[in-house]
């Protein structure tokens, strides 16, 4: 950084403290924005300090030292006057205060978020528990190794049985069957939802296991259909869009 020549001489006068009036105002304004000239001013003051060395010779009288020590003792540091602060010396404090305020805001926000997260965690845990119970129910109902026992009146030979559980609002259907007869290859049972009006709606194709048991869980169904009965027919493995007679099992809703 170099010194601006037009201010070079005024800088020397300013260092000496003898620059006055408009020249001083103009230079001080320039110094605010010119690091090169500020540096030169510091150096000129250094030159002035050298000038002071030329005066060396006399020593202060002994009493001057005693006077200072007594004055210092009278003014312990606790009563020290605060330094005259320049605005830029406040900058770090202002920045620190802003940072602290920011941190408090962040902390509050963080606390709020933590509360919300904790709430969501509780909710999530609750839902997880419900889901787990539902899974256990479905898993028990649909497990291939589950023992399925249909209780009937004593001494009655086992009969094919099916139980359909249907919730209309959710279009959710669970169908459990037992003691079903085995079918020839390429044939399968098909469950039908018989609506209160209109044609039967396919509700799943299935084959019984070796024990004659079968399960259908939530087959694709149109939403909100009112069912009046369920029926089972024997269809090709790929299923049919309309039931083929005869109806092998039938049950009407209560």
């Amino acid at each position: 950084m170099s010194v601006h020549e037009q201010f070079a001489e005024d800088l020397a006068l300013h260092a000496l403290g003898t620059l006055q009036g408009e020249e001083r105002v103009s230079l001080e304004k320039h110094l605010e924005g010119c690091a090169g000239c500020r540096r030169e001013l510091e150096q000129l003051r250094g030159d002035m300090a050298l000038m002071a060395l030329s005066t060396a010779g006399p020593v202060p009288p002994r009493r001057a030292r005693q006077r200072l020590i007594e004055a210092v003792a009278r003014e312990p540091r606790r009563s020290a006057a605060p330094a005259k602060r320049r605005w830029w010396t406040l900058v770090p404090w202002v920045a620190a205060a802003a940072l602290a305020a920011g941190l408090v805001a962040l902390w509050l926000q963080n606390s709020d978020l933590q509360r919300r997260v904790a709430g969501l965690q509780d909710q999530s845990a609750q839902q997880l528990a419900e889901l787990q119970r539902a899974r256990e129910v479905v898993s028990t109902l649909t497990a291939t190794d589950a023992m399925r026992v249909t209780l009937v009146a004593a001494k009655t030979p086992p009969q094919p049985q099916g139980k359909a559980i249907y919730v209309r609002d959710r279009s959710s259907l669970i169908f459990l069957a037992s003691n079903l007869q085995q079918l020839p290859a390429q044939k399968a049972y098909e469950l039908w939802l018989i609506p209160t009006s209109g044609a039967p709606i396919p509700a799943g194709v299935f084959k019984p296991d070796a024990h004659g048991s079968a399960t259908v869980v939530n087959p694709p169904l149109p939403l909100g259909v009112q069912a009046k009965a369920f029926a089972i027919t024997v269809e090709p493995e790929s299923g049919s869009s309309a039931p083929t007679l005869p109806i092998v099992m039938f049950g009407a809703g209560e």
Binding site: D10, L13, L16, R45, D47, L50, G57, A64
Partner: protein
């Protein structure tokens, strides 16, 4: 003659009688000055920074140590300006008390303590001489200079160099510089007194200070 009363006669007389150029000290004075400048150095390797730290923590002995190190520098410049021992003592007291009351005024990251004290002492003495309120805010004064004046030998060498440089300046230039420095006269006032043009005075003052700098740059 801008020199203070204490110096008129004896020193100049001795120099002249010994055939030294004006402003160049005789070896006798060098010895005397070395002792005067350094005072009693604090024992051990206590640096300015360590002494300042002690002062900042409220240690009164730190002030005594600082006084012993720099009182001669402060006092001699004040006496040179004011020409009165009592007034110089007041400046000495004021400068050191200001530092005691507020050690933060001196920023050690922006210069050395010795030169800073010398500059502050000169400012305060000029304020006293011109019967004016302090015009320079101490906290604003940053002094950039080598050497730092803390050691005896350094100061003695520096002093010799300064006197040599002043002695080798053209007398008109030295006069302008000394009038500005020791009497606190503005360039207009110097121009009036000497009859030299304003611009010439300005140039002489600046180039005088730069000559001192140059002497220490080599």
């Amino acid at each position: 003659m801008p020199f203070g009363k204490w110096r008129e006669g004896k020193r100049i007389h001795d120099e002249e009688s010994l055939g030294n150029p004006p402003g160049v000290a005789h070896p006798y004075f060098k010895w005397k000055e070395i002792n005067c400048l350094s005072g009693t150095e604090p024992k051990g390797d206590r640096t300015d920074a360590a002494v300042l730290l002690a002062i900042r923590s409220g240690d009164e002995n730190g002030m005594a140590a600082l006084y012993d190190r720099y009182s001669a520098v402060v006092y001699s410049v004040a006496l040179r300006v004011l020409g009165d021992t009592g007034a110089a003592e007041d400046v000495l007291q004021e400068v050191f008390m200001q530092l005691w009351r507020n050690p933060g005024l001196f920023d050690s990251s922006r210069g050395s303590l010795g030169p800073w004290l010398a500059v502050i002492a000169r400012h305060r003495a000029i304020d006293g001489l011109r019967k004016r309120r302090p015009e320079t805010d101490i906290a604003d004064v940053v002094v950039s200079v080598e050497p730092d004046m803390a050691g005896d030998a350094e100061r003695a060498r520096a002093m010799e160099k300064v006197r040599g440089t002043l002695g080798s300046m053209p007398s008109a230039q030295r006069q302008a510089l000394e009038m500005a420095y020791f009497e606190g006269l503005s360039h207009s006032e110097i121009s009036e007194k000497t009859g030299e043009p304003l611009g010439t005075i300005k140039t002489r003052i600046r180039s005088g200070l730069l000559a001192l700098r140059k002497a220490f740059a080599t």
